[in-house]
C-alpha cells in the first residue's frame, strides 16, 4: 500500500537526521510514539509531538524508557504502527521489551541515536557502541533486524524500511543512528506519498475460533490480528505453543525459538542491504556503517590515490550480519579494515566470518569523535604493506 498523502511532508528539505527520522516514521504510517527525553535523540520526539496532533497520531511522553518500550507493544497489538526513540542509557532500560516483542512477535520500531558510553558517558557526542547490545542485549537467543543510516536522507528512507520490515517479519526492528547523523543537516528529499511503499500489517482471514496468534503461517511468519477483533487471543512472553498457550517444555521451547530465529536467518538475503564500491577488484575491503562510513569513504579515496586497490562495503543492514558476503570476500581478498566507533563490535563479526582466510584490522575508537580520515588511510596502508 501507499503512504498517507495528508501526512507525508513531500518536498526538498534541509533537515537534520532526527527530524528526517520523524518524517520517515510518519510516512511509514506510524501513529503511536511513546518516548522519554534523552540526548541526542530528543529532537525526534519533539517533532513528533509537534506533527502528530495535525495528522491523527498519539504521542505520549512516558515516565521512563521501560514504560515507553512496552507501551509500543501495547499500541501495536491495538493495531497501530508504533515506535520509541532513545539513546544509550535509555536503550539499556529497554532490553527486556526487545525480548518481549521478539517472543510475542510484535511489530515495532526502536530508534537509538547512539552516544558514547558506558553509563552516562558522552550525552552530546557520537558513538556506535550499542551495536552488539541491540543484537544480544535482551536475555535468551533471538534474531532482530537493525539498520544503520549514514545521512539524514537515509534516516528518512530507512525509518520507513524499519517499519516495513517489522510488519513483514513480526519482529522489533532497530534504526541504529548516532549523534552525528542525528544532528547533521543535509538535503532530504521526501517523495510524494504515492511513491512511498508501505507494508501493511498481515492480518489473518481466519474466523474467530479458528485463529490463534501463531497458527496462520505465511512461511515462517504467522499472520496476526489485533485486540478487539473477536479472536480472544492469548499473548504471553512465556514459551507458548501455536495457540499462544504457555507450554514450558524443552520441546515447545525448541520449536518456538528455532522458528523465531529462522524466520530472520532464512530471509537474510531479502533483508540485507549492502552498499558496495569497487569491492570486486579490491585487495583490501573497508567495512563500515553509519557516520563512520562517511569518513571511511575519504580514507578509501586517499588510499586509491596512492594506487592501492581498496573497496568499500557499507553495512546499511547491520543485523542480520551479511555473513555470506564476508565469507565470499575473505576467500579472495587480502584484508578487511573495519571502521567503527567502538572497540571492534563489527570487527569481531568480520573476523568470525572470515575465519582467518583474510587479515582483519580495525580502526576503532571509544566514541566521542569521528575518525580522522588519515587514521583510516594509515591502517589501510599498514595492512597493504
Amino acid at each position: 500500500m501507499k503512504a498517507d498523502e495528508k501526512a507525508v511532508n513531500t518536498g526538498i528539505h534541509f533537515m537534520d537526521g532526527d527530524s528526517a527520522c520523524c518524517e520517515g516514521a510518519i510516512a511509514a504510517g506510524c501513529r503511536f510514539v511513546a518516548g522519554y527525553p534523552i540526548t541526542p535523540s530528543t529532537e525526534v520526539v519533539e517533532l513528533i509531538a509537534q506533527r502528530f496532533p495535525k495528522i491523527g497520531g498519539i504521542f505520549i511522553q512516558m515516565e521512563d524508557e521501560i514504560a515507553s518500550s512496552i507501551a509500543i507493544s501495547g499500541a501495536s497489538w491495538a493495531g497501530a504502527k508504533a515506535m520509541t526513540v532513545t539513546s544509550g542509557p535509555g536503550f539499556s532500560l529497554m532490553m527486556e521489551h526487545i525480548g518481549y516483542a521478539v517472543m510475542t512477535e510484535t511489530p515495532c520500531v526502536f530508534v537509538n541515536v547512539q552516544r558514547g558510553g558506558p553509563s552516562t558517558g558522552l550525552p552530546t557526542l557520537p558513538g556506535q557502541q550499542d551495536i552488539m547490545q541491540c543484537r544480544w542485549g535482551s536475555h535468551g537467543d533471538y534474531e532482530v533486524i537493525a539498520l544503520s543510516p549514514n545521512s539524514p536522507q537515509e534516516c528518512f528512507d530507512l525509518t520507513i524500511q524499519c517499519f516495513n520490515l517489522a510488519e513483514k517479519y513480526r519482529v522489533p526492528v532497530f534504526l541504529m543512528m548516532d549523534e552525528c547523523v542525528g544532528h547533521m543537516s543535509e538535503r532530504v528529499v521526501i517523495p510524494p506519498a504515492d511513491e512511498i511503499e508501505i507494508e501493511p500489517r498481515h492480518y489473518t482471514e481466519q474466523a474467530p475460533g479458528e485463529f490463534s496468534p501463531y497458527n496462520d503461517m505465511e512461511g515462517l511468519v504467522p499472520r496476526t490480528t489485533k485486540a478487539g477483533d473477536g479472536h480472544n487471543i492469548l499473548v504471553t512472553g512465556l514459551t507458548h505453543d501455536d495457540r499462544g498457550y504457555p507450554d514450558m517444555s524443552a520441546n515447545t521451547h525448541q520449536v518456538l525459538v528455532d522458528r523465531l530465529i529462522k524466520k530472520i536467518r532464512h530471509s537474510a538475503d531479502d533483508i540485507i542491504i549492502l552498499e558496495e564500491d569497487d569491492v570486486d577488484g579490491a585487495d583490501i575491503v573497508v567495512v563500515s556503517y553509519g557516520i563512520s562510513s562517511r569518513v571511511a569513504t575519504r580514507g578509501v579515496r586517499m588510499a586509491r590515490e596512492k594506487g592501492l586497490r581498496v573497496g568499500m562495503l557499507r553495512l546499511v543492514t547491520v543485523w542480520p550480519f551479511p555473513e555470506n558476503r564476508i565469507r565470499e570476500l575473505a576467500d579472495r581478498i587480502e584484508a578487511f579494515v573495519v571502521v567503527e566507533m567502538n572497540q571492534g563490535q563489527i570487527m569481531r563479526e568480520v573476523q568470525r566470518c572470515s575465519e582467518g582466510r583474510a587479515q582483519v584490522a580495525g580502526v576503532l575508537n571509544y566514541g566521542g569523535a569521528i575518525h580522522p580520515p588519515e587514521e583510516i588511510y594509515q591502517t589501510i596502508a599498514g595492512v597493504s604493506s
Binding site: K6, G29, R31, F32, A34, P53, K54, I55, G56, G57, I58, I60, M62, E63, D64, I66, A67, S68, I70, A71, I72, S73, G74, A75, S76, W77, A78, G79, A80, K81, A82, E96, H97, Y100, P200, R201, K226, A227, G228, D229, G230, H231, N232, I233, L234, V235, T236, G237, L238, Y245, P246
Partner: protein, 307 residues
C-alpha cells in the same frame, strides 16, 4: 479427588473418585469467560485469586461488558496468570509493566475496555512508577490489584505490602518496613475510583468491579486475598480458610472512610469499602479538548489504528 466431565453446554456431571455419587449442577456462568482447556489452573487450594476472578467474571456479565472489546492485561506472578485463563483478548506481559502496556493498548484503540489484573508486588513495587503516572494521567484503564501480602510465585518473599512484623521468606525474623497503603497512594496520584475488599466480601467486590466498568478513567480495586501456601503458613493461618476467618473478623467498613486510615498492620482492623469516586477528564479527553482549543481546525483527532 474429583474429576469433571462436561456432558452438554448447560450441565456438568461431577463424579467422585469412588463413582458412588453423581451430582448434576448448573454450569458455572464463569466458564464462558474462561479458557476451560487451560483448567486446572496453577493456583493452590485456598488461594484467593480464583475467588476474585469469579467476582470479576460475574461483574462482566452483570455490567454487560462487550466481551469482544475487552482486553485483560497482566504482569508477572500468581495474579499475573489471571489474563491467561480468561477467554478474552489477553496479554501476559513483563514484570511490573502491565500498566504501560495497557496504556499503549487503550490509547491506540480507545474503543477497547482495558483491564489490568495483577498482583501487589507487580503493580506497586517493580511497577510502582507506572502506577503513579497512569493514575496521574487518568488513563482509562481498570486496575484490579490482588494483594496477598507477599511475592507468591517466587516463594513468599516480602513485598511493599507485607505488613510490618509478619514473616516472609526474605524476612525470616519479621518484616521491618512500613507497608504501602495502596488506596491512599493511588488517591494521591489521582485515581477516579478506589475500593478495597477482601475475598470474603465477594458480593461487594463484584459490585465495585461493576461500578468501575461504568466509570471513566483510572480505577483501582484492591482485593485482599489469602495465600495459605506462602503467607498464611508462616503467619499462623495454616489453611486458606483461616486467613478468610481473619478477614471476616478484622475487616471494618465504616462511614466516611478515608484512605489515610487504610494502612494494614498485623492484628489491627482492615479498612474496606469504597474510598473514592470522583470525576476527572481522562488523558485522551483532556488531550482532545486542549488540542481543539489551541489548534482549531488544524487538529486532526486520532481515530484509532488505521493500518
Amino acid at each position: 479427588m474429583t474429576e469433571s466431565v462436561v456432558t452438554d453446554h448447560t450441565k456438568q456431571e461431577t463424579i467422585s473418585a469412588d463413582q458412588n455419587r453423581v451430582e448434576l449442577c448448573e454450569k458455572n456462568p464463569a466458564e464462558d469467560f474462561l479458557r476451560m482447556d487451560r483448567i486446572p489452573h496453577i493456583w493452590c487450594p485456598g488461594c484467593g485469586i480464583g475467588t476474585s476472578v469469579n467476582a470479576f467474571v460475574r461483574a462482566l456479565i452483570e455490567a454487560k461488558v462487550d466481551r469482544s472489546k475487552l482486553c485483560v492485561v497482566s504482569g508477572i506472578g500468581c495474579s499475573g496468570r489471571v489474563s491467561g485463563y480468561l477467554n478474552v483478548d489477553a496479554f501476559h506481559t513483563t514484570h511490573g509493566r502491565a500498566i504501560p502496556f495497557a496504556t499503549g493498548l487503550k490509547l491506540a484503540n480507545p474503543e477497547l475496555t482495558v483491564v489490568v489484573y495483577s498482583g501487589d508486588g507487580d503493580l506497586s513495587a517493580i511497577g510502582g512508577n507506572h502506577l503513579v503516572h497512569a493514575a496521574r494521567r487518568n488513563i482509562d484503564i481498570k486496575v484490579v490489584c490482588v494483594n496477598n501480602f507477599i511475592y507468591s510465585m517466587t516463594g513468599g518473599q516480602a513485598a511493599p505490602t507485607t505488613p510490618m512484623g509478619t514473616i516472609a521468606s526474605t524476612a525470616p525474623y519479621g518484616f521491618c518496613e512500613y507497608a504501602l497503603n495502596l488506596p491512599h497512594f493511588v488517591e494521591a496520584c489521582g485515581a477516579t475510583y478506589i475500593a478495597r475488599w477482601t475475598t470474603f466480601h465477594v458480593r461487594q467486590l463484584q459490585k465495585s468491579m461493576q461500578e468501575s466498568f461504568a466509570k471513566k478513567g483510572f480505577t483501582f480495586i484492591e482485593v485482599i486475598a489469602p495465600c495459605p501456601t506462602l503467607y498464611g503458613r508462616r503467619n499462623q493461618y495454616r489453611q486458606g480458610v483461616d486467613e478468610m476467618k481473619m478477614f471476616k473478623e478484622v475487616s471494618r467498613r465504616e462511614k466516611d472512610i478515608e484512605t489515610r486510615d487504610a494502612e494494614i498492620k498485623p492484628g489491627e482492623k482492615i479498612v474496606i469499602g469504597k474510598f473514592v469516586d470522583r470525576e476527572r477528564e481522562t488523558w485522551l479527553e483532556s488531550m482532545q479538548h486542549h488540542y481543539k482549543e489551541v489548534l482549531g481546525d488544524a487538529y486532526y483527532p486520532y481515530t484509532g489504528a488505521m493500518i
